[in-house]
Amino acid sequence: MKKIYIPFLAAAALSFSACNSDDSGIFDSSAAERLEQSRNEYKDLLTADGGLWALEYFTNDEEPGYVMVMQFGNNGAVEVSADHKWIGNKFQQETSLWDVISDNGTVLTFNTYNTLFHIFSTPENIVGSDAPKNEYGEDINELGYGHEGDYEFLLMSHDTEGNVRLVGKKHGKEAWLRKLDSSVDPKDYLDAIKAKRAIFSSKFPDFVLTEHSGATYTVNNLATGIPTIFPRDFNGVEADPVTQTVSAHGVLTDKGFRFREPLEIKRADDSTFEIEELLWQEDGSLSCRAATITGPTPKDALVRTTLSWTLDPESLTGSLAEAYKKANDALVAYSASTGGYSSITLSYASFMGAITPVMTFNVGKRVCRDYVTLDFASDEDLTLSILSSTDASKRYDELVPEYKAFKDALMQSFKVSKASVLDPSQLTFTAADGGSVTFNVK
C-alpha cells in the first residue's frame, strides 16, 4: 500500500500546480516583461552620461585582446574608435548601428557593419604572417572562419564601478565594457594605451611576477598580449618550466592588463593561485591582490651578455658631468682633427677566454677599451672597477690626464635605477656625491 500512496500524492501535488499562470509569488511580472525591463535598463546604462565606453574584446585563441572605444547614442547609432593592427595601426572612427534586443537573454548587438569592429567577425581569411599555422608552420587558414570574433553579446552583469561583463553569443568569448567619463577623448585614450605598450621593450620580453609570499615567476611575452608564466624560484623547490608553464590571452588597457578569463598559475609545488586583472600602480608596476609584475632588475639587465649600452652624454650630472666635459675638452685640445668622444659604450667581449664586461671609449675613430668588473652588492648596488686596459686606452691615460680622470670617475660605486619599473632599457647610475649618468640599451 505504501508504494501506491507515493505516486498518488505526487500526482495530487502536480494537479494543484499544473498550469498555474500566477507566478507573482516569485516574480512581479512575466518573463517577457522582465526581459523588456532588462533591455531598457541596459539601454539606459549604455547611453547614460555621454554613452562612452571602452570595449575590451577577444577573438580566436591565436590572438591577444583589443581595446576599442564605443560611444552609444540613444538614436541607435554607435561611434566606434579604434587603432589596431587590422586597420593599419592608425586611429579611425566610424559610425554604425547598435541595439539591445531580447534573444537568448538580453543581447547587445552591433547590427550593421562597422569596418573597425566587424573586421574581427568576417569569414575572410586572416592574411600575411598572422595567418594561423599548425605545429609544422603550415598555413591552416580555411576560408569561412577568420578571427572568429563576436558582434552579438549576452549582457551578463554590471557593477557599480562601471564594468559590464559580456559573453559573445556565437563564439562564447568574454568581453568587458568599461565606463569612460564623457570628457575622455577616444584618440587620447587609445594613444595612452599605445604609449603604455611602448613601455614593454622588445629587448626585455621577460618580466618577474612576485607573489606576496616572495615566490617569483617568469612572465614572457606580456607585450604580445599572450604571456606565458612559469615558476622560477619557490622556496628552494625546483620548478619545471615545461609542465608548469601556463599561457593566457589578455589585453593591455588603460587600467592594466586584463586576462580573458581568470588565469590559474601553477606554483613550483603544483598548488595554484588565480589572477584575472593586473592594475597599473603608481610606481609603474602591474599588480593584483595575489601578485605584482615588475621588469628585470638593473642587475638582471646588466649581466645580459648579448646587450650593449650607450652612455647618454646629455644625462650626465654633477661631478660626472664636470669630469666628462674636462676630458672631452682636453681630447679636442690634444688633437682637433681626432676630436672628443664620439661614443662611450658598455658591452661584453671575450677577454682571456671569458666573456667580460668592457667599457669602450671611442675618441673620434680611435677605439680605447677597458675590461671592467661589475660587482653587485644587491640588485641595484653596483661597483665598477677596471680589470685591464688595452694599449690604446693606456696611451690616452698618459697623454690626456683628464681622459683618465673621467674614466676613474666612472670606476666607483653607484646606485642603479630603472626609468620604469617594468622596463630596464634605461638605467641611471647615481654616485654617492649625487653625480649621475644614464645608459640606454642599444
Binding site: 494537479s15 512575466s30 552591433f110 552579438e152
Partner: protein, 387 residues
C-alpha cells in the same frame, strides 16, 4: 502492475483538470510600437522601408542583422548601413516595381516573400569550396549575402550577387506555390550532378542544355536558374551562352574524360600540330564570370570575348593566321544544348502565362530596361525626402 494501473488514472485526471477553464488574460508580452522613433539615426530609411515594403507588400526588409535569422553554422557579418540602403532601393526598383509595372502590386503582395534578409559577407562552405549567394526559406524569407561587396556602377555584379539571386529565389517561391510542369524535369534526366557542378565550365554545361553550372546541379535549381537568367541577362550575354551551347567541348585529354580539376580548360577549338596532326593545341575556353561579372570566352593569349560577334571575328582571324587552320571540337554529346535551353525557357514562359497570367517576355523587357536606367542618386533622394 498494480502500481502502474493506479498511476495511469492519476495522469488521466491531471490531463482533464489541466488548463480547463483558464480565461485568456492580457498578453504577457510588452506592447511594442510599430512606429519609427523620429530621433533614431535610421529614421528616414526605416520609414521609407515601412512605407514602401511593409505597408504595400507586407514585407519586412531586415537589414539590421540578427544572427538567429541566419544559419549559425556560418560566420557571417551584417551589411553596412549604406549598402543596405542602396540595395533596398534597388530591390524595390528592379524587382518589386518591375513586377508591379507588369501586373500590379497585388502579385508580389500575394506571392512575394515576407522577409528579405541582408547579410554582409558570403557564407563559405569550406567542404565544397562554394559560397551561398542566396536562400529562400519556405516561400517566406529570402536571404541575400555579400552585400558589403556591392558595386553600384556594375549592373553585371549587381545581377550576379543580388538580382539574379532574387529572381532565382523568387522562382523557387513561385514553383513551391504552384508546381512547374513535370516535363521540365524530364528534359535533362540523368545529367544533373549535385556533387561537382561547381567544377564545370559554363560552355560545357551549356552544351548539355543548362544555362549555368548551378542549373546542372538538380532540376529545381535548373528551373529557377532558367527564370533568373532569362530575366536578368542582356541579349548579348544570352546569345553568347546559346552560341556556346551549340558547340562541342573538349577536356583536351585523349579520352576526353572529365577531370574536375581541369574544368577551366574545356575548349571549343583546337590547332593541329603540323608535324603530328593527332596532337592538338586546344584554345577558347569559357568563363562563367570574370572580374567584369560577365560570361566570356578566353582566347589563346588570354583575350576576352563577351559577344558572339567578338568571338566570331577572333576565330576568323585565327583561322587566317594559322597555316594549318583551326578546327572545331566535334560535338559528341548528342544533345542540342541550344535547343534544350530554349525549350526550358519556353516551358517557363508557358508556366508564367498559364499559371500566373504573366508575360515572361514582357516582364524581361521591363527588368532589362530598369537595369539600364536606374539612377541611384534619385532613388536615394526618396529616402532623404522622407519627412
Amino acid at each position: 502492475m498494480k502500481l502502474r494501473n493506479i498511476f495511469l488514472p492519476a495522469l488521466a485526471a491531471l490531463s482533464l483538470v489541466g488548463c480547463s477553464d483558464e480565461k485568456l488574460g492580457p498578453t504577457i508580452f510588452p506592447e511594442v510600437s510599430d512606429s519609427v522613433d523620429p530621433n533614431s539615426y535610421s529614421y528616414k530609411f526605416d520609414t521609407w522601408v515601412n512605407q514602401n515594403f511593409r505597408d504595400i507588400y507586407n514585407l519586412e526588409f531586415k537589414y539590421k542583422m540578427e544572427d538567429v535569422e541566419a544559419d549559425m553554422n556560418y560566420n557571417l557579418v551584417p551589411a553596412t548601413y549604406a549598402n543596405a540602403r542602396d540595395l533596398c532601393l534597388l530591390t524595390h526598383y528592379l524587382w518589386f516595381e518591375a513586377y508591379a509595372e507588369h501586373c500590379g502590386q497585388d502579385f508580389l503582395k500575394s506571392y512575394g516573400p515576407r522577409i528579405l534578409h541582408l547579410i554582409g559577407s558570403p557564407a563559405y562552405n569550406p567542404n565544397t569550396g562554394t559560397e551561398i549567394l542566396g536562400l529562400a526559406e519556405g516561400g517566406l524569407k529570402v536571404t541575400l549575402y555579400k552585400v558589403n561587396e556591392m558595386q553600384l556602377t556594375n549592373i553585371n555584379q549587381l545581377n550576379e550577387y543580388y538580382f539574379r539571386t532574387m529572381h532565382h529565389e523568387f522562382g523557387h517561391i513561385l514553383h513551391q506555390t504552384r508546381s512547374y510542369p513535370t516535363e521540365f524535369n524530364l528534359l535533362s534526366t540523368g545529367r544533373y550532378d549535385q556533387s561537382s557542378w561547381q567544377s564545370k565550365a559554363i560552355g560545357y554545361v551549356a552544351s548539355q542544355g543548362f544555362i549555368t553550372p548551378y542549373a546542372s546541379s538538380e532540376n529545381r535549381e535548373d528551373f529557377a536558374e532558367t527564370i533568373a537568367n532569362y530575366l536578368t541577362r542582356t541579349d548579348d550575354q544570352m546569345e553568347l551562352i546559346l552560341w556556346m551551347a551549340s558547340k562541342g567541348w573538349s577536356t583536351g585529354k585523349e579520352d576526353d574524360k572529365l577531370n574536375v580539376d581541369d574544368a577551366e580548360y574545356f575548349s571549343y577549338y583546337y590547332i593541329p600540330d603540323s608535324s603530328n596532326p593527332e596532337n592538338r593545341k586546344y584554345f577558347l575556353s569559357s568563363n562563367e564570370h570574370d572580374e567584369t561579372y560577365r560570361v566570356c570566352l578566353i582566347g589563346e593569349k588570354g583575350e576576352r570575348f563577351y559577344t558572339v560577334a567578338e568571338v566570331e571575328a577572333y576565330l576568323e582571324k585565327m583561322n587566317s593566321e594559322k597555316s594549318g587552320g583551326i578546327f572545331a571540337v566535334e560535338d559528341k554529346d548528342t544533345i542540342d544544348g541550344r535547343e534544350m535551353i530554349l525549350q526550358k525557357q519556353n516551358i517557363a514562359r508557358n508556366w508564367f502565362k498559364d499559371t500566373w497570367q504573366l508575360d515572361f517576355d514582357e516582364l524581361r523587357k521591363i527588368v532589362q530596361r530598369r537595369q539600364q536606367d536606374f539612377d541611384i542618386e534619385a532613388l536615394r533622394a526618396e529616402i532623404e525626402n522622407v519627412q
